[in-house]
Symmetry: C2
Subunit: 246 residues, 2 copies
């Protein structure tokens, strides 16, 4: 194990997650390293171009280099490549915000999005992570997951709002979702926001991702969502075909 690499990435992480540039001493204290050690690490990251110094304060902040690297990765992601055109279609048909999410453990990660001209106040942003039980796109994926029950239980025990979840009811709902291939949430975890999501089936035959259409409850009514079922399913199966075909 290359400990220096671990240290370097830990420091980079710390800087990238910070709201504001940080100083050497603060970081050293926080991560239990020597000042001189942190300083040298930062100078290294500086010369490599991953970190820059605030002109005024001399504190260290992240550059966009990490982001550029990350975009390379996500844009090459097979799921993103496969889903993009069909998300675009869906957006054109609905004029609403369209999301692409994948599952990572019990979390749902927002991979890609097309924003509506008039989006809701709190649109999840690509890169965000939320418990998969919250959004429709997470639920539709969980429903197709073999270890769904385990994940739900873990959530119930670890998350502060976990106890609000009824296991039996949730599993029953998952059965319905599997049957229809569609999950719908009405003011589920974000008040006033409705959402309809379908699952993309990948090579392994499990739900590798989900496409969701979201919007304010006034615009995206229950009836409207019901009428969108086929379009969402369509986008998902076509994306799945593209994914498996290539």
């Amino acid at each position: 194990m290359d400990t220096a690499i671990a240290k370097g990435l830990k420091v980079l992480n710390r800087i990238a997650h910070a709201d504001a540039p940080v100083g050497v001493t603060a970081m050293a204290k926080e991560m239990g390293l020597e000042k001189s050690n942190v300083h040298r690490t930062l100078t290294t990251l500086l010369t490599l171009g991953y970190v820059e110094r605030d002109a005024a304060t001399g504190r260290y902040g992240p550059t966009l280099k990490v982001w550029e690297l990350g975009m390379k990765v996500v844009m090459r992601h097979p799921m993103v490549r496969a889903a993009r055109p069909f998300m675009q279609m869906l957006h054109q048909q609905t004029q609403e915000t369209v999301h692409l999410t994948i599952l990572d453990g019990g979390d749902c990660i927002y991979l890609d999005q097309i924003r509506a001209p008039m989006p809701v106040r709190t649109t999840p942003v690509p890169g965000h992570r939320v418990p998969a039980l919250f959004p429709a796109s997470g639920r539709v994926q969980l429903a197709f997951q073999p270890n769904a029950e385990e994940i739900v239980n873990t959530f119930r025990n670890s998350h502060p709002r976990g106890k609000e979840i009824k296991l039996a009811a949730t599993l029953r709902e998952f059965a319905t979702i599997r049957q229809q291939g569609i999950a719908i949430t009405e003011s589920g975890w974000s008040a006033g926001i409705n959402s309809i999501a379908g699952a993309i089936i990948d090579r392994a035959g499990v739900a590798g991702a989900a496409i969701a259409v979201s919007g304010p409850a006034e615009r995206l009514t229950r009836e409207r969502m019901d009428s969108l079922v086929n379009q969402v399913l369509n986008a998902c199966t076509q994306a799945g075909d593209t994914l498996r075909g290539s």
Copy 2:
């Protein structure tokens, strides 16, 4: 200089930029390191979760961890935060694709975008880098850059298509752009695509970024772009105010 950190990031870069997962030997040969060294580095990155192995081939590919990190960075970027709401407004008014770009040396980096329901075939994607002389958003920023002439010259000497650029004509055009605060390209570097861009003035009083509206020439005609001048300028000044105010 922590050489191990440099090595680790170099390997990570190599993997993230690759089109397909790569093997140990290939990487070792390519970057002049010992096989065993690369192998240990990869195992480190593997346990840290930045790299994963292809189940079938055993080759190494990137995970989304770098991307998540990068999104944190860009979403906290003051320019993105300041510009987002006004890009949204512009998108709502025009129903066209709206871009946010910044200048990095002679390059233009696409920071953020809102895609139109019917976008053009080749929409630049966030994270992309193009010579600033190509798109309208790059040109409007160059026009306000003190060392614009230098950048144009560097481009003329280094880029394969550099000789197509006439220095005097370009500088004259920049003067016009500075006067209007707006750059317009018609089928500029991408055939059939028109674009109108304005500059966001940052704290230092220079063009720190640009907002652009792009679309197919049939839809985004010259007359339509002329009628959008004020809306684009508005979005830019408001974004600039937000940026400097906060």
